[in-house]
Symmetry: C2
Subunit: 415 residues, 2 copies
């Protein structure tokens, strides 16, 4: 049963995956002809299920099911349908397809809740086209920053121009917002993009929080020299200083608590010649934890250590912080509802943080927000090898269907 | 006195430095119009001192002073007049100018030796233009490889074509060779390109050997992953593996004997995105020591350690050795002659290895070869900041003048 639901979901995912701007791979960017076709496809699915379909001014497709109660609040379920270059077919679209099928299942089983349900397909989560991202969820929560309309894509087209060319009116963006008093909450199904559920043999997990993040760039300056003529004791090798810092950062993250992770993903050294001692090393850091204090302390202690390493080696160190995002907690009542639904399916409930950012973190500004993670193969995402099985997707749809009445009723009762 | 000699040398170096293909910097490449002008200038200096000047088929300028004895062997003194891009004025040219002035000084003092003296200005030591290098000293020692004539510069011009355009006949290269039985030895004055003499307060040093060298490239392959979603314990981070290897290599070199140095000068990582765990790290190693066994053992033990690091981290490691050059010892009799001359100037004699390659290592294939190092500021070379003082260059010229009769006589006596 569950497996059949997953197969049904996958058929829809494959239909969406066929819509791409680059032959031989999945690539679907915000406000492009492919986005248009994907929106039309999702809209058609929604209409076929009897939802009231509309599009807002930032090109989110929205389908509403009415519970029939007066003054019903709105429970939003969704994710995004834009992708990175050479993407998989699950990251994003699964969070649109799963609620569609779950709502269908739940209605078939006689769903009675106190909220309207809105299924939404955001168009701008990956940030593949414009400098700013999350246009859909920012508009939906009234947080859209008009300054981002001036951001340009690589062809020099602004978001404003692209919206207008897409038939949307930037002046109407404010109208896309859901009023706080009518918002019941947001629920997003997404592949885990990590290896935890697979390692623990679980198909589903409840996200307890979307982790906080610090990004920055360190520049080590040393002294260049001839690789043959400068004895080790006389060197001020910027790369070796960086290597020691990298090692220190990794050690700190490994021994850290609260899901602390640290990554050096971007590195360059100068002058970059085989026989010249490097005088310059530049590297990025990306540090995350589900507890903000843990992250902030880790970064600060690492920087202290890095400065000491630089000083001991006669190098200098400069650090520029480029981005800081605080942890966003998922709603405890929603989490409990998801946990109950998972337990109902006979599985152990695993709570885990989301190390990646999602629309759910934007939605949390308006009210309850939560996520259901689905096991993916080897933790791989943003890659054609991205994979979630029919069984696991079926489990997710079944759990979501089971969670709807729990979340939907509880909230109105406690309002 | 010594300082005046150095000032005289510097005047000549400045004349040469003015010959450049790039305004605002020194850049003088093999077989270019600037090389032609530099050869003419050096030839004119030689002629003014009464030397017999000629050019050979690979465009070395050669000036001979005859000692007047029948069956005299030939003692060769020289260095190169080509440069890197944005060079200093000392690296190479000092080794042409110093013997000119030293010979003048020695003759003024009534030089009597059993060897003819040939001063030579090689045109191809830096390898700035063609893939192969050392054309001058390879031809002089009969080791020139005709295959290198097919090597192309960045404009697609072969060495053969460039020689012909320069008015030289590639067929005559074999005629440039000095017969082994008439070769008395080679002596090269060069800036140290390292910090040792400066650190020890000495203007001169005797090179005991040109160090052996191993170069290779290591490729670490790990597993890419999302910087936020893969816990530290699940990572196979190729860059972190490389950082640990770098640290291990440095530790090994630092604790090594025999002037062991190790450098990682070239690094690249993939995919190279801030928020993606690197799956690929490629880096060069350059390992040198004045004792070959020390170098070979260091490389082999490092590779063992690197493989263990890769294995422990679930990464794979590939190593490709690109270049191995054995140590070339300097001639003990020549070294003793230089040491005596330095001691005569009242200085402590410091023997040190040359970590850089020089024509002297090529010349050693034919007979005795030796080098005199001159202190340079902060060990800097291949850079406009390259600097040797008038005092130090004067010391070098005086020492060389004093060494000539010592080396020149001893050799014939012991033949």
């Amino acid at each position: 049963m569950s497996k059949a639901l997953g197969a049904e979901a996958d058929a829809l995912l494959l239909e969406l995956a066929a819509i791409t701007s680059r032959p031989g791979m999945i690539a679907r960017f915000y406000l492009t002809p492919e986005h248009r076709r994907a929106m039309d496809l999702v809209g058609a699915w929604m209409r076929a299920d009897g939802l009231e379909v509309s599009e807002d001014a930032v090109a989110s497709v929205r389908g509403i099911w009415r519970c029939g109660k007066p003054d019903a609040k709105r429970l939003v379920l969704g994710s995004h349908i834009d992708t990175v270059v050479n993407a998989g077919r699950f990251d994003g679209p699964l969070g649109v397809v799963a609620p569609l099928l779950a709502l269908r299942e739940a209605r078939r089983a006689g769903l009675r809740i106190n909220h309207d349900i809105e299924i939404i397909a955001f168009g701008d989560e990956e940030g593949s086209r414009f400098p700013a991202t999350f246009a859909g969820s920012l508009a939906l929560t009234g947080q859209f920053n008009p300054a981002s309309l001036d951001g340009l894509d690589e062809d020099g087209i602004s978001l404003r121009e692209a919206l207008i060319a897409f038939g949307k009116s930037p002046d109407d963006i404010a109208k896309a917002a859901i009023a706080r008093e009518t918002f019941a909450g947001y629920l997003e199904v997404h592949i885990e993009q990590g290896p935890v559920l697979e390692a623990e043999g679980l198909s589903l997990g409840v996200v307890e929080a979307i982790v906080g993040q610090t990004r920055g760039v360190l520049t080590v300056t040393g002294v260049a020299g001839h690789a043959g003529t400068v004895p080790m004791a006389y060197r001020h090798d910027a790369f070796q200083a960086m290597a020691e810092m990298a090692f220190a950062l990794e050690r700190r993250a490994r021994s850290g608590r609260d899901g602390l992770v640290a990554t050096i993903g971007k590195v360059s050294i100068g002058p970059g010649l085989v026989n010249v001692i490097p005088d310059r090393a530049v590297f990025s850091i990306d540090v995350r934890s589900s507890v903000d204090a843990t992250r902030v302390e880790a970064v600060s202690m690492f920087l202290e250590e890095a400065h000491a390493i630089a000083a001991r080696r006669g190098c200098t160190l400069e650090y520029v912080e480029s981005q800081v995002a605080k942890r966003v907690a998922c709603d405890p009542v929603f989490r409990a509802g998801l946990a109950e639904a998972i337990a109902l399916g006979g599985q152990r409930v695993r709570e885990l943080p989301s190390g990646a950012g999602h629309d759910a973190q934007v939605m949390a500004a308006l009210g309850p927000s939560a996520m259901l993670f689905v096991r993916c193969k080897a933790g791989v995402s943003h890659n054609p090898a991205e994979f979630a099985s029919h069984e696991d997707m079926g489990d997710a749809i079944a759990a979501l269907a089971a969670a709807l009445p729990r979340i939907g009723n509880v909230r109105n009762d406690t309002d």
